[in-house]
């Protein structure tokens, strides 16, 4: 099936098998920051923004995303750069495998205007991290969200 995906502002027209997962299509398009960490939509390493909302792309068929506007952790704008700076200062990444999912989710939370630490924690709880114990990630997001 022919579908179109707009990824980080770039339009892609791709021919995909109906059974193909969006995460695999994005990775084949070169968006390697979208990572596969599980097969049950639990870990969140494949989280991207689809039409403004964080979605685990291992749980979506590429054909379901036809026409979608997608942002990955490769994206760059003021908010994403602020998040990158805060993640670095707070030592919010260790092995880095979950970091893309954390960044895209954090981007959504900041854009949405999170109001409290509890909201940050709840918002990030869909992405698993095995290295950091989460605190530095939470602190980095709070800083960018002005909390």
């Amino acid at each position: 099936m022919k579908i179109t995906l707009k990824v980080n502002g770039v339009l892609h027209e791709v021919d995909v098998e109906p059974r193909k997962l969006l995460v695999h299509v994005l990775r084949e398009l070169g968006y390697k920051s979208v990572r596969v960490g599980c097969d049950t939509a639990t870990c969140g390493a494949c989280t991207v923004l689809i039409d403004g909302r964080p979605v685990k792309t291992c749980n979506v068929l590429a054909v379901q995303a036809d026409g979608a506007e997608i942002y990955t952790a490769d994206y760059s704008d003021e908010v994403m750069e602020k998040l990158r700076g805060a993640f670095k200062r707070h030592h919010a990444a260790q092995c880095g495998f979950c970091t893309s999912g954390m960044l895209t989710t954090a981007y959504y939370l900041v854009r949405r205007g999170v109001k409290s630490e509890e909201e940050v924690v709840e918002g990030l709880s869909g992405v698993l991290c095995r290295c950091t114990g989460y605190q530095n990630i939470v602190d980095a997001v709070k800083e960018v969200a002005g909390l």
């Binding site: 960490g37 049950t40 670095k88 698993l128």
Partner: protein, 726 residues
């Protein structure tokens, strides 16, 4: 301009935060083929026949390998599979989706055999044998002994007996294991999500009969490991062998469900103990047996032994006898998980201290105070010599700094408002660092330096920490140092990142390399200056003249002076011993039995702290893993050997919502190791200390409602708490 001791953000982050860090699945080669494995649904079965005929007819299938293929393809050794998830065959296809279609078409005839899952059942004389050639399921049995434990027990005022069971943990690094291999007819190159590229190279070369010089192993970015990637796994050999046989690039990346069975598990130790104490609370003798539930193959050598040898912990116990027994069962093989024997030793001895304190009616702080080792170095009863430290002082300061008594008072106050809060602490000494490590340092002609380390960082930030250590030794700005790792083309041999050894072993090797390089450059500078120079801040000076490092290196490259510009240093690093005190507070909901970790505080004497930002990161992340061991995680098998927690949806790796608030402190007066870096290691300390602190906190909370309750296992699930309360 000292860099060591400063909280410098990581140089690695630029790649990671821009999605540019390349993990093994990101390695793309033209004509890539994809490998997958047929894995046994049975825990124990004879493999009668593997039939590829239908699979080979599937579109895109290139090759298949099974038990009949011999050589490196040693599937189902002895004609049987010994745990659910053990590979019996391999299929290679042009596309991942076609690969999985084909894997379903491989027909395997199994003859199921009775499986043995429980260590006590495995020890019975009539138990099914996991490995018939051994004649028993006991694969390792060793006694560690010192002093006169029998007499000490006889003379003790009280003898306390018990058993503590530590669950199986699935390490769950966020990146599953994976391998890419390619052979161009000349050199075999392997990328692997591993902690041990040097071992991968050695094992692959051996399996294929290739000289080491024609095998190159590369560790790309690795998405966590925690000990689960420190063995060379069969898949690494098989994928390399397939690439070699097919002369094509082959990639295998485990799915999470696959990884849960095909990557090693951790912990799974049980201690039966008998301890003698005097009325005034001195522990006179510790005796017992540590059983390891080793799984189907004895890959996790030494886990029960480390737990046995470190069982005395930071306490002066003069008499002991502990047996370390490893028992085969039909489960995924057991191996290292963050701490590998020391978390178990610490949890065991801390529980024993509490048990004895309860029997004697003694305060839990007081009993430790009376038993702590007073003078370092100290040789423990099993012959392990703790190097440096001042345990009594660090213990008292730690408890004070962490606010232990204030937290106890706060919990009492909150109890009046109906909140049930428990507070616990733990004390530990642990053993880190072993073996040798290699550093290759090159002076570049622009005055910058390139370090090739044999360390294998996978999240620790060692490129940053090594650059700090080197910048101080070379007296140059950190920005002039670039660190490469994880490639056997750079360094001939080494061990890697594990056992909290990296900055101590690899950092010390880097310091030695820097010293040697300075000597070399000084020789060349002497030739250029005509007098014996003094080095400072990148400049050689004597007789009123000076040359910069850059000028010296250029002169050497042009043949005007002689020096080695690339030096290699190999450093042998003996063990060193961190010490610390940790405190945890939890809140208990008596209706549901649910326990929420509220806060976690650590005070560690780990010697020199190279980078407090990164060290705190290790402490915080390590603490949550230990907390999760105390409260959430467990690999559960049914009686047939089916893994009932086969993926992250069933196995509870904590999320941000479960994480407590952490505070990390390092000792006011640290006791450095004797190594050039003065470090002791921080990678595992918090994982070691956090489980016993949380267990004590949970017990403290439960005892507010039901005095006398004792916890004798991990994890403590809500159901356990609920039952203990009734």
């Amino acid at each position: 301009m000292k860099y060591v001791g400063r909280p410098i953000p990581r140089v690695e982050d630029e790649l990671i935060l821009r999605g540019k860090a390349a993990y093994v699945d990101d390695v793309e080669l033209p004509g890539m083929l994809y490998a997958g494995f047929v894995r046994s649904p049975y825990a124990h079965a004879r493999v009668l026949k593997v039939d590829f005929s239908d699979a080979l007819k599937m579109p895109g299938v290139v090759a298949a390998f099974g038990p009949g293929d011999g050589g490196p393809f040693n599937f189902a050794p002895g004609g049987k599979v010994r745990y659910q998830g053990e590979a019996v065959a391999m299929v290679v296809a042009r596309d991942r989706y076609l690969l999985y279609d084909a894997l379903e078409k491989v027909a395997v005839d199994y003859e199921p055999l009775p499986a043995v899952l429980d260590i006590y059942e495995a020890l019975r004389p009539d138990a099914p044998l996991v490995d018939e050639s051994l004649g028993s399921n006991v694969v390792h049995d060793k006694v560690y002994e010192g002093g006169d434990p029998d007499r000490a027990l006889k003379e003790a005022d009280v003898v306390v007996e018990g058993r503590f069971v530590i669950q199986r943990i699935i390490p769950s690094a966020m990146e599953p294991r994976g391998v890419v291999a390619t052979y161009d007819g000349d050199v075999l190159t392997i990328w692997s999500s591993t902690q041990v590229p040097f071992d991968v190279r050695k094992e692959v070369a051996k399996a294929l009969g290739l000289p080491l010089s024609r095998v190159r192993a590369i560790q790309p970015f690795v998405g966590g490991a925690f000990g689960s990637k420190l063995l060379v796994y069969p898949e690494e050999i098989w994928v390399a062998a397939a690439a070699y046989r097919l002369k094509a690039p082959v990639k295998w990346v485990a799915t999470r469900s696959e990884d849960f069975k095909a990557a090693t598990h951790g912990r799974a130790l049980t201690l039966e103990y008998r301890v003698g104490a005097s009325r005034d609370g001195r522990i006179l003798a510790v005796t017992g047996t540590v059983y390891a539930d080793a799984g189907a193959y004895y890959w996790g050598e030494g886990l029960a032994d480390t737990a046995a040898q470190m069982l005395p912990g930071p306490y002066d116990i003069r008499h002991g006898r502990v047996r370390a027994v490893a028992v085969l069962t039909n489960k995924t093989p057991l191996s290292a998980y963050r701490g590998a024997g020391r978390p178990e030793a610490t949890l065991f001895i801390e529980r024993i201290m509490d048990h004895v304190a309860d029997v004697l009616g003694m305060d839990r702080v007081e009993i430790r105070r009376r038993n702590l080792i007073r003078q370092l170095p100290y040789r423990n009863v099993f012959g392990i010599t703790y190097d440096t430290g001042d345990y009594p002082t660090a213990f008292e300061r730690g408890l004070e700094r962490l606010g232990y008594r204030d937290l106890k008072r706060w919990a009492d106050e909150e109890a009046k408002r109906g909140r049930i809060i428990g507070v616990g602490f733990s004390v530990y000494v642990e053993i880190t660092t072993f073996g040798y490590e290699t550093a290759v340092l090159r002076a570049e002609r622009d005055g910058s330096f390139t370090l090739y380390t044999a360390l294998t960082p996978h999240g620790q930030g060692l490129a940053t920490a090594l650059a700090q250590v080197l910048a101080d030794e070379l007296e140059v700005p950190m920005e002039r140092i670039k660190v490469f790792w994880g490639d056997t083309a750079y360094v001939g041999d080494g061990i890697g990142t594990m056992g909290s050894r990296s900055i101590t072993a690899g950092g010390s090797a880097a310091i030695l390399a820097a010293r040697r390089l300075k000597e070399e450059l000084a020789k060349a500078a002497e030739k250029l200056l005509g007098c014996r120079p003094v080095y400072s801040g990148g400049i050689f000076q004597c007789g009123g003249n000076s040359v910069t490092i850059e000028e010296v290196v250029k002169a050497v490259y042009r043949g005007k002076a002689e020096a080695q510009l690339t030096v290699e240093a190999i450093y042998r690093a003996d063990a060193t011993f961190p010490f610390g005190v940790h405190v945890a507070a939890v809140e208990l909901d008596p209706e549901t039995g649910f326990v929420r970790p509220l806060l976690y505080r650590s005070y560690d004497d780990v010697g020199v702290v190279v980078n407090p930002l990164l060290a705190a990161g290790q402490a915080i992340g390590g603490a949550l893993q230990g907390i999760a061991q105390a409260l959430y995680e467990e690999a559960v098998y049914d009686e047939s050997g089916n893994l009932l927690t086969p993926n992250l949806a069933f196995y509870y790796v904590p999320t941000a919502a479960e994480a407590p608030r952490y505070e990390v402190y390092f000792a006011d007066e640290p006791h450095p190791s004797k190594h050039p870096t003065g470090t002791k290691g921080i990678g595992e300390a918090a994982t070691i200390a956090s489980t016993p602190a949380v267990v004590m906190a949970v017990e403290d909370a439960i005892r507010r409602l039901k005095p006398g309750v004792r916890i004798d296992k991990t994890p403590i699930t809500p159901e356990d708490v609920w039952r203990l309360l009734r």
